[in-house]
């Protein structure tokens, strides 16, 4: 900080832009961060202290809020469930969208555009519209109160957008590559697995990361599908915990913070992929 300040005064003002821009940016950053930081810090306060001092550091650090969550088997079970659902969703979305995206971007046949429109039609259907019959279907398939019910539904609703994004990415590879592979005796499927997928690793990473974030955060589907506490994912666990300890805000905030921190760490590592996927999807959508 100090060295920057020195440099600012030494260099001509133009170099860092007008001061007011930084003031506004810092003010917005504070507004964005205060809720998150205060959740983590207030998770260390006793209920009595929270009532009087919602700001500032705790007078006495009540580690018990955090340790009691970390010692509860329910929390770890929910963490595990969320992780399993997230990984299975990402794998399912990757496998089932990359294959159609390959067909739509690199093979020509009659009715291709019609089929492509059929797949992307789903982008116009909000999940709320399908949710009641979806629930009945899952019940008939015996997938209520099963993590598979959530995984399959998340994959199905992830397909239209992901196929659209991947088709765009796949189309950037020059056609000559397909021809060269065909000449060397490579079948389309072989080309897909051995050439296209390895080349498209960054695009696949973007898509996978988006699916992971969406799955990790999903609340609507688990709320409908899951009944037993042992199958709850973290968002459901938070809601249940809030119902149980609703008046003990210190503990609730500790629980929330423990599910918040992994998300933010993941975000800091995967920001580039998330942004790339979102902007590609939005622009092509």
């Amino acid at each position: 900080m100090a060295t920057q300040a020195v440099r600012v005064s030494a260099a001509p003002k133009r170099k860092i832009g007008p001061l007011w821009q930084y003031l506004v940016a810092v003010a917005v950053a504070i507004l964005v961060l205060i809720p998150l930081v205060s959740a983590v810090i207030n998770g260390f306060k006793s209920n009595a202290e929270l009532m009087v001092h919602p700001f500032g550091l705790p007078g006495t650090w009540k580690w018990d809020n955090y340790t009691s969550v970390l010692q509860s088997p329910a929390f770890w079970q929910q963490l595990l469930n969320s992780t399993l659902v997230m990984l299975a969703t990402a794998i399912g979305v990757l496998v089932l969208s990359s294959m159609p995206a390959f067909v739509f971007s690199r093979m020509t046949f009659r009715g291709r555009d019609l089929l492509f429109n059929f797949f992307t039609l789903g982008l116009l259907f909000p999940i709320a519209v399908a949710i009641l019959p979806l629930y009945i279907t899952l019940r008939q398939a015996n997938l209520i109160d099963s993590l598979w019910g959530i995984i399959l539904a998340q994959v199905a609703f992830g397909l239209p957008g992901t196929i659209l994004i991947l088709r765009g990415f796949f189309a950037t590879i020059p056609r000559e590559l397909d021809e060269a592979a065909a000449i060397d005796g490579c079948s389309p499927a072989g080309f897909f697995v051995r050439v296209l997928l390895p080349l498209m690793r960054p695009a696949l990473a973007s898509v996978a990361v988006l699916a992971m974030v969406g799955s990790w955060n999903n609340f609507f589907l688990p709320l409908l599908v899951l009944n037993s506490e042992t199958r709850y994912t973290l968002p459901l666990g938070i809601m249940q915990f809030q119902g149980q300890f609703g008046t003990d805000w210190g503990r609730v905030l500790a629980f929330v913070s423990l599910s918040l921190v992994p998300t933010i760490i993941f975000y800091l590592f995967a920001e580039r992929q998330i942004v790339a996927g979102l902007t590609a999807g939005a622009v092509k959508g």
């Binding site: 940016a25 700001f55 116009l124 909000p126 938070i238 918040l260």
Partner: protein, 309 residues
């Protein structure tokens, strides 16, 4: 060998009418798994919702109580449903008028920074990645009457200020929720605008400035028109999102107090899943679908047509 291969390829290509079964198998095999899952869990349910909406049905037993359009008549005579629809529309307007200009302003601001651009972008975009449950619970804490941050802040400025519960008042609840929605989603639109701004050649703006345009004029006549497709897209996504709000509102208010923050989706959830009126719930779903679908078609035809070329 190598010289003859392209010729062989050409021979095969000229004999088009012969079906190459290997290729067909690849196409079918690659499309089928996705098509089955997608048809069964995305498309079919939408068709089923339309079908169910003509029945009175509790979700169990056979569908036999056909009641025609009664569910729809009941829907539009229900004050709470009309209220929910108007709340969604208010959120649409608030988002376009407040959230998107804010996002655009911050995108321009971040672009203008020489140092710390990436850091500020990372911070501003952070809330979008969090779950709506985490967001909702944290903001419930911030808004709470006894010792919440908002009341604490006001009381530190005005001693003796009486606690207000913004979420418990039907007059303020929607605006309190909108503040949270803005906090969570402005970063997404900002990211879109930043991506759009990167596609504008710097020379154009520089040329305008050389020709004597002030900063605001450059913005008004060069930057914003060139950002048109991104702005239209961001409005489109924002409207569709605002029509479908559920999770955040469910976590914070479950649509209350006295339906003051009811949305189409919370209303659907209450009737479809809490009261098991699946026919009526499906009619709500169909209305949500029709609103979103007709908006999509209209908007893509009218506003976004030029962006597709």
């Amino acid at each position: 060998m190598e010289s003859s291969s392209p010729a062989v390829g050409r021979v095969v290509a000229t004999r088009r009418p012969r079906i190459r079964w290997g290729r067909v198998a690849t196409i079918v095999g690659f499309l089928l798994p996705a098509a089955i899952l997608y048809s069964g869990l995305v498309l079919l349910p939408v068709v089923q919702a339309i079908y169910y909406s003509f029945y009175r049905w509790n979700g169990l037993g056979p569908l036999q109580n056909f009641i025609g359009l009664d569910n729809y008549v009941r829907l539009f005579n229900d004050r709470i449903f009309v209220g929910a629809l108007s709340h969604n529309l208010q959120l649409v307007v608030l988002s376009i008028v407040i959230q998107l200009p804010l996002a655009l302003g911050l995108a321009l601001l971040v672009r203008g920074l020489v140092r710390g651009r990436a850091t500020f972008r990372t911070i501003f975009f952070m809330p979008f990645v969090l779950s709506e449950v985490v967001t909702g619970v944290i903001w419930n804490f911030i808004y709470r009457p006894d010792g919440g941050l908002i009341n604490g802040l006001i009381q530190s400025i005005i001693p003796g200020f009486k606690d207000t519960a913004l979420l418990a008042n039907p007059k303020t609840v929607l605006y309190a929720l909108f503040a949270v929605i803005t906090w969570k989603f402005f970063g997404y639109h900002m990211i879109l605008y930043i991506a759009g701004l990167q596609n504008i050649p710097a020379e154009l703006e520089e040329a305008a400035q050389i020709d004597g345009c002030g900063k605001l004029q450059t913005l008004r006549y060069i930057t914003i028109p060139l950002l048109g497709n991104t702005i239209r897209l961001s409005i489109y996504l924002s409207v569709l999102g605002s029509l479908q709000f559920f999770e955040l509102i469910w976590v914070m208010t479950t649509g209350g107090p006295v339906s003051g923050s009811e949305t189409l989706a919370t209303y659907l959830y209450k009737f479809g899943f809490q009261r098991f009126q699946l026919g009526y719930g499906s009619a709500i779903a169909v209305v949500i679908f029709l609103i979103c679908f007709s908006f999509s078609l209209f908007y893509q035809r009218v506003a976004m047509r030029r962006d597709f070329e």
